[in-house]
Symmetry: C2
């Protein structure tokens, strides 16, 4: 296992990202603050390039390629935001990119990835192993594989969102972050420990896939089957070795949210902050709602991870509030 | 008729608004630029206080009250964003506010207005005249009436959005602005004329209520019945005397958009810019689409007026794209 990154690596990543990643806005809502009894700052990574925080880690990792690596190219596997993030970062840095995507990926995502100039290799997700394909492409063509979360440069890059948030709004009592493979949570925890030493750091994952919670509580990485949840960005089956090494040391607890709670949070974002948030991006607010009684009068940061969702699917989810969800107006 | 405001009044309004109104962000979209063949800058007033540009005009008008007027209070009639704008501006300035709202106004809007500390007077929109009620409340209690658009301070305040936009992004070849009663369009035209002299200025109104277009083309104010359109902020029946005086002098043309075109534009805002825009707020982009062939390679500003829409209604509209609307992803 490589050495896990430290806060210095997050700071270096921020230098590399300057002028390339957006410094995304911080949103607040009088109504959310009144509901929760806390002062909440939302770091809106749905306004990041490619519509998600993933650009930070991808750009940081690719910008550290040697000239030889850059000439040969990068390979990544992802059906989601990491694919587009690597494709755009590669184009900006003049690096050839190969993205391994499932045959049944939405046409819009395949087109977007190709639109950034990447070569897309399709695979059958029921019979083929994408990690295997990625590794064999890497070996065959001398490509460098950039995994979606378990990589020091990816973790450090993702940590720059929380770093910017705390630099902008000041110290926080708590930071609440969506959790899939743990790249964002690990990076955020590094930033919070360094910049707001007393800050509690929470991950939030789908209730249907609480491997992160079980891993943190048991002290070892728990593997699960692909969870059924609308939070497609958090359908990971296990934490990474590097991300877990940081998470077990720095993270206070991992919370969970149901799909109905995610829809309720998406409705709140639309109604009060006028922003489109994808289900995975709503994990932070949904988790915070279950924790609010512990945070009365506190200053809380939440990372909103992305806004990439097909409009028809967004409309359908938004229009089907579950019974008993919190009021959104 | 009072003297119509000039650009100096817009500048003075900007001074009064400093630190009270948000300086809203300017959004861009690679995909929209590619579709239209132009470089488009969206001034996102859906992020303004109360969720709409109306706060600018209301705050500017109320901040000019004499101490006697301020003690007696303000009265306004509106079922929409002007109601909440006057209520919040009044609270910030310590002025008692009375808002005349229809009996069948959405409970959420009535609650929001009361939440800002305003007294709400309900009327029956089928049997009573709100302007009459407003005037008689003003006369009886010595209140000052702030109308939704036909007032020099309201017009000047609304013009500050376009002023900020041009200051931030530089000169524009065209500026496209939603049109209801004309307060925003008139104020925007004053700013554009002063800051970007060659800039063409366009208003966009619902096709079902094209009184503004007919007024501009005929040279006199045309009155119509309340139009049926999803753009509830532009269901005005005629321009104001002051707004028309400016519009006929400064505005290049008035375009129209159908409800289906508004939905298509709302979908584009959600898909590409990740923002919730109310139907009236989408008039600018919808109108621009009909004009794009004239603006190839040009720099175009669009004012996005607001994001206040019930979430269920938003989901329902977003999920019903008309046949033949432009692709949104």
């Amino acid at each position: 296992m490589p050495v896990p990154p430290a806060y210095d690596d997050v700071r270096s990543a921020a230098e590399r990202l300057r002028g390339h990643a957006h410094r995304t806005p911080v949103l607040t809502s009088r109504r959310v603050d009144a509901e929760l009894g806390a002062t909440v700052f939302f770091k809106a990574e749905n306004f990041q390039r490619v519509g998600a925080f993933k650009f930070r880690g991808a750009y940081n990792a690719l910008s550290r390629f040697t000239s030889e690596q850059a000439r040969a190219g990068v390979v990544a596997y992802s059906s989601g935001n990491h694919a587009q993030a690597v494709a755009l970062a590669a184009r900006l840095l003049g690096i050839p990119a190969t993205i391994v995507m499932p045959l049944d990926a939405p046409a819009s995502k395949v087109e977007a990835t190709k639109g950034y100039g990447a070569r897309v290799v399709a695979y059958d997700r029921y019979t083929q192993d994408r990690e295997e394909i990625g590794r064999s492409l890497a070996a065959e063509h001398g490509l460098t594989l950039v995994p979606p979360y378990d990589h020091p440069d990816v973790i450090a890059g993702q940590g720059t969102a929380a770093m910017e948030l705390i630099e902008e709004v000041g110290a926080l009592d708590a930071l609440v972050v969506p959790l899939g493979g743990g790249g964002l949570l690990a990076g955020s925890a590094l930033a919070a420990r360094a910049l707001a030493p007393g800050c509690r750091v929470y991950g939030v994952e789908p209730e249907a896939g609480n491997d992160g919670q079980r891993s943190l509580r048991s002290g070892e990485i728990v593997h699960i089957a692909t969870p059924r949840t609308i939070a497609d960005g958090a359908q990971t089956t296990h934490l990474g070795e590097l991300t877990f090494a940081i998470i077990r040391r720095e993270v206070t607890d991992v919370l969970t949210a149901t799909d109905a709670e995610l829809v309720a949070a998406m409705r709140t974002f639309a109604a009060t902050m006028k922003v489109v948030v994808e289900p995975t991006g709503a994990l932070g607010l949904a988790g915070l709602r279950t924790l609010a009684h512990q945070l009365q009068g506190r200053r809380v940061g939440v990372v909103v991870t992305g806004g990439n969702i097909d409009v028809d699917r967004y409309a359908a989810l938004l229009g089907t509030p579950a019974t008993g969800t919190p009021a959104t107006r």
